[in-house]
Symmetry: C2
Subunit: 268 residues, 2 copies
DNA sequence: ACGCGATTTTCCGCGATGTGGAAGATTTTT
DNA sequence: AAAAATCTTCCACATCGCGGAAAATCGCGT
């Protein structure tokens, strides 16, 4: 476990439905967990819910088929069937399907870890990943894992190309959550600016000291970011001359994915 | 709109959380809708919710980024970001990704409409579809659309290979909903039996008179159905000699997908 | 295998939270 | 432009969800 995904993240005029907020906070929390699942106490702890409350909601989610118990244990994880709730929107923008060959190609050519991130509400999500042959790979970052949008390098790159309004909204709504990830407003904004200026972002990994990240945006026809491709490798492998050799590769990959997406739009 | 997805479908000892049931009933309802979205009245009507209640829940879902308004209009549909809630479970069983080549191949070879269905809780979901070149295609069936498991032909085939226990559970929990789709317990069970006996099922389409359906299961290593591939075409095109020529094609397709899934498991 | 601490689950009275009728905006149709 | 339909806000009520406490269960260590 670990990640503090406080439920207060989206500070709203509480009018509405408390338990819907709580339910989806749980769903989002589980969305990032690995398939071993999370313990009730941890879920309750992270979201600052009482144990009975967390239990009751999880039970309801289980009845709805959204959540299941990892076989044997009584740990909770997202049910396989949750995947199918999103098929319709997914098919409207099947970026992960279209990106597969590109990601594999990049992983093979660079030998390092390649990630595809997508924006999701106020989070960035790792939508897919491929590993290369180099011994040290970023295994710790799971597909489905979420960060407040702006925390991960890929997230900052995306924020840079999602419009002023959304940038402002996200910064406001994620303000409190950034602290949990040891990064400030200023750091995030600096990254966003750099991404806008250069068209990419290169920074040390926050969660994984000794690793470096290089990220480029995937932009749709209008220029809006719909994702980001990033490469993660030991710092030594991503500095200086090699970095400048890798950058065009990443950019070409991002362009390919964008084009595949554009073609898709036509036929749908 | 149309489909009556009564919230009472899963008659439960109501203790728990009413509004979670309602929220996900709405999400499931929208999951099947096309990208034009659904009107508030229709949503409220289908689920027998008061307008203010439906409105309040939808507003909450919108704040959570689960639901959005179709551009311009004020109709509700699932937000693109919903797709990313399910990426982790999806990557545990990426059947739709792996099935793409097979579906395309089948559509191209047969010229008709090919569908991939997956089981999701008490529903079957159309997870993907491909059209062939023949003029009449099953355009009305949208990707993401849901039926009570057992209503669609693909659903019956899957039910046949999901174990006695699940079959019994599903039959019990879907009993009331079958009526909405003009099919009885007996019809469903007959189909299930036939599917078990033959390894496939061939029946007239219920929702689309004049069309016929031929479906085969996609089974995992243990033999459990994880999906179904079906072909839909005007009845004349799916009878007699042509049907027996198509069946092996479908079966081969299902086997290919199953094998791809098996290979996937290894590497994960 | 046994026992003890940690975790999950049930119970239940309180009250905050969600509810739906009715009325007021807004959009769409005629 | 008027009318109909739909969407949204308001508000008083009571239902539904809340969380403290206790019971049942799990699982870890010896």
């Amino acid at each position: 476990m670990g990640m503090e995904t406080s439920i207060e993240g989206s500070r709203r005029e509480a009018t509405g439905t408390q338990c819907i907020q709580r339910s989806f906070a749980i769903v989002r929390l589980l969305a990032g967990g690995d398939c071993d699942g999370e313990k009730l106490v941890d879920i309750a702890g992270s979201l600052k819910l009482s144990h009975p409350t967390a239990h009751r909601i999880l039970k309801a989610l289980e009845q709805e088929g959204i959540v299941e118990r990892a076989s044997g244990t009584q740990r909770y994880r997202l049910a396989a069937e949750t995947a199918w709730l999103g098929v319709a929107p997914f098919n409207r923008c099947p970026i992960t399907r279209l990106a597969v060959p590109t990601l594999e190609d990049l992983a093979q050519k660079t030998g390092d870890s390649i990630f595809l991130s997508v924006p999701s509400h106020n989070d960035s999500v790792y939508a897919d990943r491929r590993f290369g042959n180099f011994p040290l790979q970023a295994q710790r970052i799971k597909v489905g894992a979420r960060r407040p949008l702006g925390v991960s390098i890929g997230g900052r790159v995306m924020l840079g190309f999602m419009g002023e309004e959304r940038l402002a909204n996200t910064m406001r709504q994620n303000a409190e959550r950034f602290a949990d990830w040891h990064c400030s407003d200023a750091t995030v904004l600096a990254g966003v600016e750099a991404a806008r200026a250069q068209g990419y972002l290169s920074e040390d990994s926050l969660i994984d000291p000794g690793r470096h990240v290089l990220a480029v945006p995937v932009r749709d026809v209008v220029g809006r970011a719909v994702g980001a491709i990033s490469i993660i490798a030991p710092t030594a492998r991503l500095k200086g001359e090699r970095a400048s050799r890798l950058l065009p590769l990443l950019r070409a990959g991002a362009r390919d994915v964008a084009q595949a997406l554009g073609r898709q739009r036509m036929s749908a």
